[in-house]
């Protein structure tokens, strides 16, 4: 008897492939959904069945309640895993699944809604004894009240919209004189983006680390933490490197932080896997930042140090099973590091790049795990998140997982579109990263200006030309055999003039 009759994975890319892997190991048949742009995508081939759910625009496909529930009904799926992003934190979708008699693999709708409201979440955390950044989260939203509160909190401070995210409507204000204008501009942006201009004020924490606690809770009320992850190396609020354990936590601080994570989860009535994010200031004080009510991108580092399969635990909980493990049995062993490979062009202000993957050489070996959403031949479009793959390494200690990461990245080759591979290598080799001296502005501080990439050395060009010449024979042979109906990039390895 499997946990579910059939699982529909309402996502794409590496996370859909990764969820399908666990489902298969548990004997649960899987259904992939794909948009028109993803017909040939890796995730659409990773499941037992695949259903087209609409056009490339996510709003009409991966975000369409109707299309997804219809696909579940048509295939007889009795559970939906939302992955991350898309509908994973949408309380109304969680409710719609429940109403359709389908298990949503995640917390119930009201938990998503509670945590999606920053003002309410802050108050709930403060009431539960979880430290929050000193600030203002009151209902009185008059400009004069906010200005008075700002003066009380002190500068620099952050103005944040209560609803929404992605940095929209968010400002750092350095002096009281600038406050009124900044507030007005935040309100306008938030109103436009989220339809709500309720604001929260918080003291701006300087040079913080981003440290988060993985929590998991069953429906019987057992809530556990699976230790912390440090994700301080970010670029524009987007995590780039993640690791566990954090290089800076003392055992005492770790215990306090993880206990705060559990308290935060309990306060919300949390069920299933979630992450409580904290800012850690240089003096060792930590503050609640937000709660992510879903599986995180960086969950593999936790899996590697605990030996657990988080997706399996999510499915068991969604099926109503109690957690099969207790807090005292949980151990974090060794160190794990994740690097996110993005389709973005460092030479073009890190803008997303697109194209066809011509070569996809991903590393493997002891202590190396790769979760990829692309393979050779995949089309990377600009419609979706630019993350291509996650390279995760594990070692006895931080030095070993970093060494394995450096080696793994040196063998990672995704050709055909620009990627951040060079930046990942620079980061992992950086003395300050190796020393564990991290903060959320690490990339801006240390890798501010990207040094222009030098040209290929002549010996590399010679090897490349010899290789293309050697491959030409195969391309021609394939054409003669009539097997090259689909244009193969190697069939187009143009002949080099023989002279």
């Amino acid at each position: 008897m499997t946990l579910f009759r059939k699982l529909l994975i309402a996502n794409r890319g590496e996370i859909a492939v990764r969820v399908a892997r666990t489902a298969r190991a548990l004997g649960i048949p899987t259904v992939a959904v794909y948009s028109e742009a993803d017909r040939g995508a890796l995730h659409a081939r990773a499941c037992d069945e695949a259903v087209a759910v609409g056009p490339a625009e996510a709003r009409a496909s991966y975000l369409s309640f109707e299309r997804l529930l219809e696909a579940a009904k048509r295939t007889g799926a009795d559970a939906i895993h939302p992955g991350y992003g898309f509908l994973s934190q949408n309380g109304d979708f969680a409710d719609a699944c429940r109403d359709a008699g389908i298990a949503f693999v995640g917390p119930p709708g009201d938990v998503h809604r509670k945590m999606g409201d920053k003002k309410g979440a802050r108050r709930m955390m403060a009431a539960a004894g979880v430290p929050v950044v000193p600030g203002y989260d009151g209902d009185d939203q008059q400009d004069a009240t906010l200005a008075a509160e700002a003066a009380r909190i002190g500068f620099p401070l952050m103005i944040k919209p209560s609803r929404g995210g992605g940095g929209k409507g968010m400002r750092v204000v350095h002096r009281l004189d600038d406050f009124a204008a900044a507030l007005a501009s935040c309100r306008r942006e938030a109103k436009g983006a989220f339809g709500d201009d309720t604001m929260v004020l918080e003291r701006f924490v300087q040079r913080p680390r981003h440290v988060e606690v993985q929590v998991i809770a069953d429906s019987a009320g057992t809530t556990l933490h699976l230790f912390e992850r440090e994700c301080s190396v970010q670029r524009r609020h987007q995590k780039v490197l993640e690791e566990t354990p954090s290089p800076v936590l003392t055992p005492v601080l770790r215990e306090e932080l993880c206990a705060a994570g559990v308290a935060a989860a309990r306060a919300t009535g949390y069920v299933n896997a979630g992450t409580v994010e904290f800012l850690l200031d240089p003096s060792g004080r930590f503050y609640f930042l937000e709660m992510n009510t879903r599986l995180q991108v960086e969950h593999p580092v936790t899996e590697l140090v605990t030996g657990l399969d988080l997706v399996r635990m999510q499915l068991e909980i969604a099926a109503g099973r109690p957690l099969a493990i207790g807090q005292s049995e949980l151990r974090s062993q060794g160190h794990a590091l994740e690097a996110r490979l993005y389709a973005e062009d460092p030479a073009n202000d890190d803008l997303p790049s697109a194209g066809r993957v011509l070569v996809c050489a991903l590393p493997e070996g002891p202590g190396v795990r790769v979760d990829t959403g692309v393979a050779r031949g995949s089309e990377v479009s600009v419609h979706y998140d630019p993350m291509l793959a996650k390279i995760v390494t594990f070692g006895r200690d931080r030095a070993e997982s970093i060494a394995r990461m450096a080696e793994a990245l040196s063998r990672t080759a995704v050709l055909g579109l620009a990627t951040n591979l060079g930046r990942l290598r620079t980061l992992v080799d950086h003395a300050e990263f190796r020393a564990g001296n991290l903060h959320t502005g690490f990339i801006e501080e240390h890798l501010g200006e990207v040094s222009p990439h030098p040209c290929a050395p002549p010996e590399a060009i010679a090897a490349a030309l010899a290789a293309l010449h050697a491959a030409r024979g195969r391309g021609a042979a394939a054409s003669r055999a009539g097997t090259a109906a689909v244009p193969d990039p190697f069939a187009a390895l143009g002949g080099w003039r023989l002279s």
Binding site: R376, G416, G422, A464, L465, A467, L468, R474, R497
Partner: protein, 164 residues
């Protein structure tokens, strides 16, 4: 001669088959890289040392249109081939090599190695999108090689006939 641009630098290269294997000349430096295709796009380069011990390394290269994507010793490079007259649809005249101007199928080969040809003589015909394109000798000379036969599919830029 192939002209390859990598960032601001322009390289000139050529590839030729010799009795000792393929020779590559890059910016005047000749070498014979010993490469073997491992999987599509992935190659092993063997560099023999003086003591009989070869250095072995894997690199990756793929071509898409005029762009060559190269992964070499941990770094990624892009090389762009510069061709004049590519979009003119006419065969290339330089160096006596005759390239396919577009993807298509060879429907006629009018010459064989050793044949003397006059300038402008029809050498072969490529059909694409139901249109026939005659490729003509860019100069008078002797046909040194014919790389294709009737029925072959050809890619743009591929050298089909050599005249010297």
């Amino acid at each position: 001669m192939i002209r390859l641009r990598c960032r601001e630098q322009l390289h000139e290269a050529l590839v030729r088959e010799t009795s000792q294997g393929v020779e590559v000349v890059v910016d005047g430096q000749a070498s014979r890289p010993e490469v073997e295709e491992a999987t599509p796009g992935s190659f092993v380069l063997r560099t023999p040392g003086p003591d009989g011990v070869a250095r072995v390394e894997t690199f990756h290269v793929a071509r898409e249109g005029d762009a060559i994507h190269l992964f070499w010793r941990g770094d990624v490079y892009r090389l762009d081939e510069e061709r004049e007259g590519r979009r003119g649809g006419a065969a290339r005249h330089a160096e006596g090599g005759l390239e396919a101007p577009m993807p298509g199928k060879v429907i006629k080969v009018a010459v064989a190695p050793g044949d003397a040809v006059e300038k402008g003589a029809e050498v072969l015909v490529v059909e694409a999108m139901k249109m026939e394109n005659a490729l003509r000798a860019p100069k008078a000379g002797v046909v040194r090689s014919v790389a294709v036969k009737v029925g072959d599919m050809v890619a743009p830029g591929r050298v089909l006939v050599e005249i010297e």
